[in-house]
């Protein structure tokens, strides 16, 4: 029996939810979810930030009051001057732990940081470069297999490693907004149409198969990652925490399921059942961690 057990974290919200929904969501997380850490902040599109900043700040206060650690996350792909300023402002707070999702934040960073999953860090040498600049934790890029994660952990003693364990996989970012394009609009006059799709807008192939999802400038998988790998195997691979990405599904139920799974109280089949009952926006996938195509199904369905 191992003494250490996996932590649970909530990743930054990827979608353009209304401020009330955001407050309610984080209120529930604060009061009911067995999670240790919550990442907060706009990582997809700088245009959304002015709409949501207050809700995020309120949520952060609520979470800290409930004893959760709060880490602010930065933008993944700065596009406008004000995006760069926002990243610089986040970076300038050298005392607090922040999550970096774009290389531009590294320029003025001397304090500790988490390397987010949107950075292209794929090996231990790159991770060590970041550690020499203050990186204390890495959320593995979703493309990495568990074997690769294990090699990174072995090459980076002391680095905490999070795994993207639940949610639609962030696959790409662009300068072009696909929500706007679908609605015949332009990123500059987008009317924030991404707020209509709380888990992303489904993309099917021309023969009707579910495949991807649009979220503004971001492309996600349609399938929902479920890291149902035995906790002992994860710990052996150097994983220290599992990250749950917010969806309209009952994330408290998802968190409870993962807590029980990490503690060895339920198995992978039961985890999948509980996660399925929570109402995820797609079927469970788990190919990446096994070193195959990301859309391959998760183990236990």
């Amino acid at each position: 029996m191992t003494e250490i057990s996996l932590q649970l974290t909530v990743g930054p919200l990827l979608f353009n939810w209304a401020p009330e929904r955001i407050r309610d969501f984080y209120g529930r997380i604060a009061d009911q979810a067995p999670v240790d850490r919550v990442y907060i902040g706009e990582v997809v599109c700088g245009k959304r930030a002015p709409l949501l900043d207050h809700a995020f700040s309120d949520a952060a206060e609520r979470l800290e009051a409930a004893g959760k650690q709060v880490v602010w996350s930065g933008l993944g792909l700065p596009a406008l001057r004000r995006d760069r300023k926002a990243i610089a402002a986040l970076s300038a707070d050298q005392e607090s732990l922040i999550e970096i999702n774009d290389v531009s934040a590294l320029l003025e960073r001397s304090g500790p940081f988490v390397a987010g999953p949107l950075l292209n860090v794929y090996n231990e040498a790159a991770a060590r470069e970041l550690m020499s600049r203050g990186c204390v934790r890495l959320c593995a890029n979703v493309e990495l297999s568990l074997a690769a994660v294990s090699a990174i952990a072995a090459g980076c003693p002391g680095l905490e490693i999070e795994l993207f364990a639940f949610g639609r996989l962030p696959l790409a970012l662009s300068g072009r907004c696909y929500h706007a394009r679908h609605h015949g609009l332009h990123k500059d006059n987008c009317q924030f149409v991404c707020d209509r799709d709380l888990d992303g807008l489904d993309i099917r192939t021309l023969d009707g198969r579910d495949f991807l999802a649009v979220n503004g400038v971001q492309t996600l998988s349609h399938g929902v990652q479920l890291a149902d790998i035995p906790p002992s195997e994860l710990l052996r691979a150097g994983v220290t925490a599992l990250r749950l990405s917010p969806h309209t599904a009952d994330m408290v139920a998802v968190a409870r399921g993962f807590r029980a799974f990490a503690d060895g109280r339920i198995d992978a089949v039961e985890l999948a059942a509980q996660a399925r009952a929570a109402g995820p926006p797609g079927p469970f996938v788990g190919g990446y961690l096994r070193g195959v195509a990301g859309l391959q199904p998760a183990g236990a369905q």
Partner: protein, 330 residues
Amino acid sequence: MGSIELVCPAGSPAMLRAAVEAGADSVYCGLRDDTNARNFPGLNFSPAELSDSVKWAHDRGAKVLLAVNTFARAGASDRWRASIDAAAGTGADAVIVADLGVLAHARDAWPDLRLHLSVQAAAGSPEAIAFYARAYGVRRVVLPRVLSVEEIAALMREIEVETEAFVYGGLCVMAEGRCALSSYATGRSPNLDGVCSPPEAVTYTEEEGGMVSRLGGLALDRYASGEPAGYPTLCKGRFAVDGALSYLFEDPVSLNAMSVLAALRRAGVTAVKVEGRQRGKAYVARVAAAFRAAIDALDAGEDIARFEPLLADLAEGGRQTSGAYRKTWR
């Protein structure tokens, strides 16, 4: 060399010679493994071929840049370090790199080896570029294909390194080096494997509505009989959103920025880059000759509108675009 350096692709020594003979100032190539982002079967250079080609190019006043621009595999960084060492050993003029660990190795082991930042490093802001310049001594950045000419000009006012902008060839619409679309469908990505939408995952089948191209079993496009078929690159596929079928991410067009060449030159871009190491000798000879003539014409104060239609038939699917260089793309 004129006011702008012309950088052309070389998928083989024969293609390298064709590019230089057609007027390229520099050529870029890769070794025959997954350390470069055009890791196609039968393509690229052995270390011996690289060495011979560097000598041949230098004798003609041309430069050779080695692309070591994929991300090293966890637990297997030695292969990428070996590619950097090979570049230094053969006298290549620069290496084109994206991975932080590979950059660090190049900086520490070969301090005199010129470092160019690959487009796969996705360094599109002054802060990101300054970070790489300060931390690794990067001398030139290959700009992401998602910036408009105005943005490039604005960017250049804030950075101190040289810039290289794509002007012809395949068009990538996602932030490069950070796109996992291909690996989600097929298990292989440009980041880790050096291929996007790999050929072994491609099938074409005749069906009732026409010929359907598939990648990893996923239907990407359908062609009526007689219609030219395209390679099923994932982001160039046709997809259904809310029941409406469209080229959601990008039309299957390729880039031809000849019409903004003068603007790029005015903005002070150091070099223009042609994509297409996998396109062959005939392709590079034609594209290099056209851009060589256009650059020379610009330097002589002439208008270059007559060069714009020259390369239309080489475009993928027969269609082309000036890409993001004009702001309407967004």
